[in-house]
Symmetry: C2
């Protein structure tokens, strides 16, 4: 049985003010093309299909069109669970009709106890739930963390599951030790959100959503598909795609990552401003989404304007000089007197020294402050 594992589409995502819907339309079209070729027996989408619980019309349309092609045109069964970004009601609307064509949308904890059987494999679903939702559902038990919630939720499954068949769990959570990026929203506030791997050991495989890196964890039975696209500059060098999972009776389950090439990648460029403007820096593609961290930019008027003439999809520009030199300055800050600190700061920011008059003003100001300090 060939199962395609994907997650974290985040349809409707806006990155630094830029709507990524065109990129998402492009990559989902590619995904559909891959599915035509692979002809999987099942697609599982483990949460965060939308980026917000109030998706835009265009986001709703893109998801509907994509799922329609996969499920109605290509007749591929699909199991979807909700993630922490999805609105349950929004996602599950129409689910009773969808199930008639083997499109299963699961958004509730209770669905865990009603696995979906496809080709003799049991697919258990545990969509994202808040700690409060777990506490409310398992009223009689004390639950203080995601780990405790999962352990309790899966306890009954452990005794009931048929271990002579293959059993797969689909969920949306953080496994302890998983590598995070800047684009996952925290699952809990003020409590440890991650769940230990041993809680899941009754399953033959666990297919996960939430972490955006396709190799977030090092496990021989738990996998993240990773997100559909790079969704923060901290993911700039990460491959994105989907996973092909092969499930055979009496054989170990294997999961293979299949990368997809996006319309635009995210690139972080650390360089000198003039080198960027003169195109003396190596970029993968000028149409990519850029975060430029540049030095020697202080005297340039409206640098982003000039940069966008060459790299139209620049999404972020920061002054690298200030940042890196500050780091150096910080180290011996305690050994310097106030005048020197101010002088160095000015130099960092302005790429220039204080002139005589400025230096004099600073000195007077510092002396006055020192005087005031002493007289208290």
């Amino acid at each position: 049985m060939k199962v395609i594992h994907t997650a974290d589409w985040h349809i409707g995502r806006i990155l630094n003010g830029r709507a990524l819907i065109q990129d998402q339309t492009y990559i989902l079209h590619k995904f559909v093309e891959h599915m035509k070729e692979i002809e999987p027996d099942l697609i599982v989408i483990t949460g965060d299909l939308y980026d917000t619980s109030f998706p835009s019309k265009s986001a709703i349309k893109l998801l509907e069109d994509t799922i329609k092609q996969l499920n109605i045109s290509l007749q591929i069964p699909i199991i979807i669970i909700s993630g922490n970004h999805d609105g349950k009601e929004r996602l599950s609307y129409g689910a009773s009709w969808f199930e008639q064509s083997q499109l299963y949308i699961r958004t509730e904890i209770e669905d865990l106890y009603n696995p979906i059987k496809i080709r003799d494999v049991n697919f258990y679903t545990l969509p994202f739930a808040t700690l409060a939702e777990f506490q409310n559902y398992y009223k009689d038990v004390e639950i203080n963390s995601n780990h405790e919630a999962m352990r309790h939720a899966l306890k009954d499954i452990e005794t009931s599951l048929n271990s002579s068949e293959k059993n797969v769990l689909l969920s949306h959570l953080t496994v302890s030790g998983g590598i995070k990026t800047d684009s996952e929203r925290d699952l809990t506030i003020g409590t440890i959100e991650s769940v230990d791997e041993d809680v899941f050991k009754m399953f033959d495989t666990v297919l996960l959503g939430h972490l955006h890196h396709p190799f977030s964890i090092n496990s021989d039975f738990m996998y993240y598909s990773g997100s559909l696209l790079q969704y923060s500059f901290s993911e700039a060098s990460q491959s994105k795609g989907f996973r092909e999972v092969t499930i055979k009776q009496n054989q170990d389950i294997s999961s293979k990552f299949i990368p997809m090439v996006p319309l635009r990648e995210l690139e972080v460029i650390e360089a000198d401003y003039q080198d960027v403007i003169n195109e003396n820096v190596k970029v993968k593609n000028k149409e990519n989404y850029f975060h430029f961290k540049l030095s020697n930019m202080a005297r340039i008027e409206d640098p982003i304007y000039h940069i966008k003439q060459i790299y139209p999809n620049t999404l972020a520009l920061t002054n690298d000089t200030v940042y890196s030199q500050h780091q150096v300055a910080k180290r011996n800050l305690k050994q310097l007197d106030s005048n020197t600190i101010i002088q160095q700061f000015y130099e960092d920011v302005m790429d220039d020294e204080l002139d005589k008059l400025q230096e004099q003003k600073v000195r007077q100001l510092v002396e006055a402050l020192d005087e005031e300090e002493r007289s208290r």
Copy 2:
């Protein structure tokens, strides 16, 4: 063939600050019970299922639950068209899956040319469209009114339809001469919105939404089902329900109105404040939604508080004295001097005369103003 015709559910409607979702849940439950008994071959819902294009979660859930019971549990085919209150994308989401169980949701003009055949009857659908949408769809033709739009849209149908079969049009519009209430939102701004009956004469019957009165028009082939509930105090005495349409080959089509009793009706009570408080007025049900138009209320502090102690679902309270006596006063306003007008106004509002000091103050003020006027 038995067809149930309903429209204008306006799920999520709020009347004078009061959410009607409980009343709507009650009546839709009743509607489902009726359907269990009638066992129709088809239900048509001719627009305005929701009250707004951004319905609340509870509104979405109520619609989904109702349609699920009718279409999935009772297995009744359903045709739905969008009205001017519905968001097309919202309503048609999932339509490709729904059609597999004979739930047809039509929101586009182009669907008109693709009738749905059920038991040898052709159901043509023309959902609500704005004048701009008509103009955009029929680019090559000049269209300046809803009437012209409909005439043009239906011209091609006239030549193509098979008149040896029964042909039914479902639409959401105002027919010329139709009785309006206060709760339909105008379809067009600044242009005549109504369409003449003769435009539709190629159809055996036309089942309509938009006007809330179930007997809005006097026609032998066109019918409004009316709204699900009374949605404005102008509908206070109107019966609400649905229609049962009987279609038989070689027979005229008949439409019969079937009323439903709501959880609460709307009542308008014109009376004296004391009579209302002393329960000397006849009301149908104290739990109904009331608009009280009362006289002799001017000296009562917080009258709505006292009224709600007896009639908890009072939604509106207006001072009838002021209103009616003002009408009288207006007539001879020009023949009165300023002092008398002010005196009468005070009496109207306060149910009392100006005292000596007040009268003196008014006189002084009027004289001062007259003086100022003269000196200009």
